[in-house]
């Protein structure tokens, strides 16, 4: 069965495409080393216009305006430039009140493009430009620790990794936050108290990687000014000790949080990347893979919701669960050795 994959481990080659969704200008070169805040490509979109009413000013018919233009659509105009005039004994002039590009005529009025929104795509990670996507962006590559989550609030940030070890045993409380400093990326197990988020916002941290948040905190987390990635989801879910073990050796190093929304079509997941020098073998995995024996999985249903284990068998026969559903099942050995039977489609692979 094909199931979703979330990577959590060291990966030899993390390759990410960063691209605009409309054509623009690529600002980087192949082989260039980038920082997370570096702009990769940008495009300008007109978002402000100004109309100069030529027909009324000259007292001519709307359709006749084009005969009186002295500047043409496509030209750049400066303040007080004459844009149209009626010659005669008493000439009448129309000047541009502000600078802008003369974009078009609209109902006897000149449309000036006076403001542009610059749309940028940033690197969001430390990495090398592997290839350029002409007009749109580039593909970046790095190696290091990759942690993918199920939910993100759409923001991006980078900072020094600060781990709240205790939160893998009990939910984050005020006592655990005393050493948190502004600009850090905080990694935590369970976070069930909304005041913790307020406190972290006050401290102006650079990001939060958390195993689970209380369900009621989703809307608040969505509005926080820093990126938030939930690795497991929402509720009182047991944090996975192996995540803590993965993070621990890298405390104090810079980690990038790219809390993009989950996009199944684009294969984008909210994630954190901590770049490390090459020297390990973990491979990048596909976004969805066939479930198989030996894989590490997280359980998304039943009494063991949120627990991590290893697939020990995939049943050939359908199994009837207590809901009454008859489904393909997997046997999963949890961290404490307990073996459970879970519907295959309620598992995700942790790579």
């Amino acid at each position: 069965m094909l199931v979703d994959v979330y990577q959590a481990g060291l990966v030899k080659e993390i390759r990410r495409e960063r691209r605009l969704n409309l054509p623009g200008k690529v600002l980087v070169n192949e082989g260039q080393q980038l920082e997370p805040s570096d702009a990769i490509a940008e495009a300008e979109l007109t978002d402000q216009i100004y109309m100069v009413d030529i027909a009324s000013s000259l007292g001519v018919e709307m359709l006749d305006v084009k005969h009186f233009l002295v500047r043409q659509p496509g030209e750049m105009l400066y303040e007080d430039d004459v844009i149209a005039q009626v010659e005669g004994a008493i000439p009448r002039l129309v000047r541009t009140p502000r600078p802008g590009k003369f974009a078009a005529l609209h109902q006897g009025r000149a449309v000036l493009q006076v403001g542009c929104e610059t749309i940028q795509v940033q690197a969001g990670m430390y990495g090398l430009v592997q290839s350029i996507i002409p007009e749109f962006g580039a593909t970046l590559v790095t190696s290091g620790l990759l942690l993918q989550g199920v939910w993100g609030n759409g923001r991006m940030g980078v900072g020094e990794l600060h781990i709240l070890d205790g939160s893998w045993l009990a939910p984050v409380d005020a006592g655990m936050l005393s050493e948190v400093e502004g600009g850090q990326v905080v990694a935590a197990g369970q976070c069930l108290d909304a005041e913790v988020l307020d406190y972290l916002a006050e401290r102006e941290i650079a990001g939060l990687i958390v195993e689970s948040l209380a369900p009621g905190m989703m809307s608040e987390a969505a509005l926080l000014p820093f990126p938030v990635v939930a690795l497991q989801g929402f509720g009182s879910l047991p944090p996975a000790p192996f995540i803590l073990e993965l993070l621990k050796p890298h405390a104090g190093l810079m980690i990038c949080v790219h809390a993009a929304g989950f996009d199944r079509l684009a294969g984008e997941r909210p994630e954190a990347i901590l770049s490390l020098p090459d020297g390990f073998e973990g491979g990048a995995m596909a976004h969805r893979m066939l479930l198989d024996v030996g894989q590490r999985v997280r359980v998304f249903s039943g009494e063991k919701l949120g627990q991590v284990g290893e697939v020990t068998a995939l049943g050939d026969e359908l199994v009837t669960f207590t809901s009454g559903q008859r489904l393909p099942a997997a046997i999963v050995r949890l961290g404490d050795g307990l073996q459970i039977t879970v519907p295959q489609q309620n598992l995700v692979i942790l790579g």
């Binding site: 069965m1 094909l2 199931v3 979703d4 409309l22 054509p23 495009a43 979109l45 007109t46 978002d47 402000q48 216009i49 100004y50 109309m51 974009a103 078009a104 609209h106 109902q107 449309v111 493009q113 929104e117 199920v150 939910w151 209380a214 369900p215 009621g216 989703m218 809307s219 969505a222 989801g233 929402f234 509720g235 009182s236 989950f262 199944r264 079509l265 684009a266 294969g267 984008e268 596909a286 976004h287 969805r288 998304f300 249903s301 039943g302 009494e303 919701l305 669960f321 207590t322 809901s323 009454g324 559903q325 008859r326 489904l327 879970v342 519907p343 489609q345 309620n346 995700v348």
Partner: protein, 588 residues
């Protein structure tokens, strides 16, 4: 003149966001029948190809039915060979793609913009802005708004036939200017669906700046919608964009030649057809309609037809985090769960359910939570339907008035429910129908395929509809009155085909089930209390009703409208369990 040959077999592919279904239609005993239907997971996502999921479904289908249609290489034998292997045609419907952003331009919120909203709501589209006549006061702002929202499609409506022209002229100019200021790669597709007197102007001014399609006015007269031509144009555009976004879709559509389309449109077509034939067949003058409800892995779709009018809505299954309905969804899930769960547990379920689209309930609690969420989805969809179509009389405080029979149900949540009783209760609570209706299960999601195939092979659609491919879930008689609880509301005399004769009293506030085996006919003599309406023409009106038993027989719902679960948790759980017991669902 050559007589057109009917195909011996047709392969139907339905590609949803979560599941891919393959169905083989062929001839058995001289009539078209469903020879087999299988499901696989849709192979959707980066680096995946839709053909892989289709291939798995096809392999399973070939194994399950005795009709070989695959080459050894896995390719399709098309058309059939000398040995009869293969299929003659392929039809495809899909709902796997993302919603496209649409901006609506029109005149009034109660007129053209309302019609345009109904149009957009009936398709996998997302309305990002709706601008009306009042917005023309500041054309600069209107042009900026059009540029900032970057729609993929603009629908320009307004002005009834021979109606207002000036504001439409202005919208044409505003749109023209906005398009000229957009990068050429991002100029939207424009659907002109307004006053036909301005079609020529629209063509002259808008064709040079965007891809324009002119369709008949969606509001030819006040209160009169004509959405189908615009829907067809939009469907074409949706499919075009999905083909470029979803790897494999284009090739699969090529296999289907002209028989491919967007799922909800195909269902809509089928519902219109069924509604139409019902009108023609109807001996009495009572207006009776059809309703089709699909609770899919990505969308909730309701299509309905009544008295020659028809419409549909397509809503996202899951709400955005900032959706104003989130709190209501959470409260509804909590209130309709027949288990003693906390509000927080309901919230937790709702949040996490959205994260794993393939999720299936493993425990009783999860099943109850997912069926509670199904009630919310049903309610949300029929409320939106009623907002868009005044002839659809649903109100949360009194349920669904009007006679819709059958109500056809599809979607994994419903069609694969482990017990029909729990499913039926969710449907009754979510839709709260009045009068007499029949719930029919479309387990294999055949309706869209029949809608699509029917365009070329109407005989196939007609014969499959008349076959046993659809399951009769139950006939439901709703007895509504303002009687005190437990007062006798209805007496039913039952005479079954097998000779059983008995009488049942139904009291106000209760739910009763008459066990009539699937396929067996029975005649019911219904005698309601003088204040009780059972859909026979008003309070106190009864009569004889011939029914055919479904898996749940006949269910009489005298719980009143609206059905409100008690506030106290223990009472609520007990009441739900009692209703479920009535419907044959025993609790551990």
């Amino acid at each position: 003149m050559a007589v057109p040959q009917h195909p011996a077999s047709v392969l139907g592919l339905d590609l949803g966001r979560v599941h891919t279904r393959a169905t083989l239609f062929g001839i058995a005993e001289g009539k078209y029948r469903v020879l087999g239907s299988e499901t696989a997971h849709t192979t959707l996502g980066r680096d995946l190809h839709l053909g892989k999921g289709v291939g798995e479904a096809l392999k399973a289908l070939q194994t399950g039915c005795e009709h070989p249609f695959l080459k050894e290489s896995g390719g399709l034998i098309l058309p059939h060979d000398r040995l009869g292997r293969g299929v003659d045609r392929v039809a495809l419907t899909t709902s796997a793609g993302p919603r496209l952003n649409v901006t609506l331009l029109g005149l009034s919120g109660t007129g053209s913009l309302n019609a345009a909203s109904a149009l957009v709501d009936g398709l996998p589209l997302k309305s990002v802005t709706a601008l009306g006549i009042a917005d023309l006061v500041d054309e600069t702002w209107a042009i900026e708004t059009l540029m900032k929202t970057r729609p993929e499609i603009v629908v320009l409506a307004g002005g009834e036939d021979a109606g207002a022209e000036d504001p439409i002229r202005r919208w044409i100019e505003v749109l023209r200017t906005a398009c000229r200021l957009m990068p050429s790669s991002h100029q939207p597709v424009i659907i002109y669906a307004g006053n036909p007197r301005l079609e020529t102007l629209a063509k002259r001014r808008l064709e040079p700046v965007g891809k324009l399609q002119v369709v008949p006015n969606i509001l030819p007269a006040y209160g009169e919608y004509d959405l189908v031509p615009a829907q067809m144009a939009l469907e074409e555009e949706i499919l075009r964009q999905w083909k470029s976004a979803l790897p494999g879709l284009s090739g699969l559509c090529d296999l289907a030649k002209d028989l491919n389309g967007v799922t909800c449109r195909a269902v809509d077509r089928m519902v219109r057809y069924l509604g139409q034939s019902k009108r023609l067949d109807s001996a009495d003058l009572a207006i009776s309609g059809i309703l089709a409800v699909d609770l899919g892995g990505q969308y909730t779709t309701v299509s309905g037809s009544l008295g020659g009018l028809a419409g549909s809505v397509v809503l996202d299954k899951f709400l955005d985090v900032d959706d104003a309905l989130w709190e209501r969804a959470s409260q509804d899930v909590y209130k309709w769960t027949g288990e003693g769960v906390t509000q927080e547990a309901a919230d937790q379920f709702l949040c996490n359910y959205a994260l794993v689209p393939t999720f299936v309930p493993e425990t009783q609690v999860e099943l109850s939570l997912s069926q509670a969420f199904a009630r919310f989805r049903l309610r949300q969809a029929v409320e939106r339907f009623a907002k868009n179509y005044p002839w659809f009389d649903f109100r949360a405080d009194r349920g669904l008035r009007g006679h819709f029979e059958p109500i056809i149900i599809s979607g994994a949540v419903l069609a694969n429910a482990p017990n029909p009783g729990g499913l039926l209760l969710a449907l009754l609570d979510g839709l709260q129908p009045w009068g007499i209706t029949t719930f029919v299960l479309d387990r294999h999601h055949l309706l869209p395929l029949l809608g699509k195939i029917g365009e070329a092979e109407p005989l196939l659609a007609v014969q499959v509809l008349a076959s046993s491919a659809f399951d009769n879930l139950a006939t439901v008689i709703t007895a509504t009155a303002d009687l005190p609880q437990e007062k006798l509301a209805l007496t039913v005399h039952v005479e079954t085909e097998s000779g059983k004769v008995y009488e049942v009293d139904v009291h106000q506030g209760s739910l009763r089930r008459l066990v009539i085996p699937t396929g067996e006919e029975a005649v019911l003599e219904l005698e309601p209390h003088q204040r009780v309406d059972i859909g026979f023409g008003g309070p106190g009106q009864g009569g004889r009703l011939k029914v055919t038993g479904g898996s749940m027989g006949v269910v009489i719902d005298a719980r009143g409208r609206p059905v409100q679960p008690p506030d106290r948790t223990e009472e609520r759980v007990e009441r739900q369990r009692e209703w479920l017991r009535t419907l044959g669902v025993e609790h551990d």
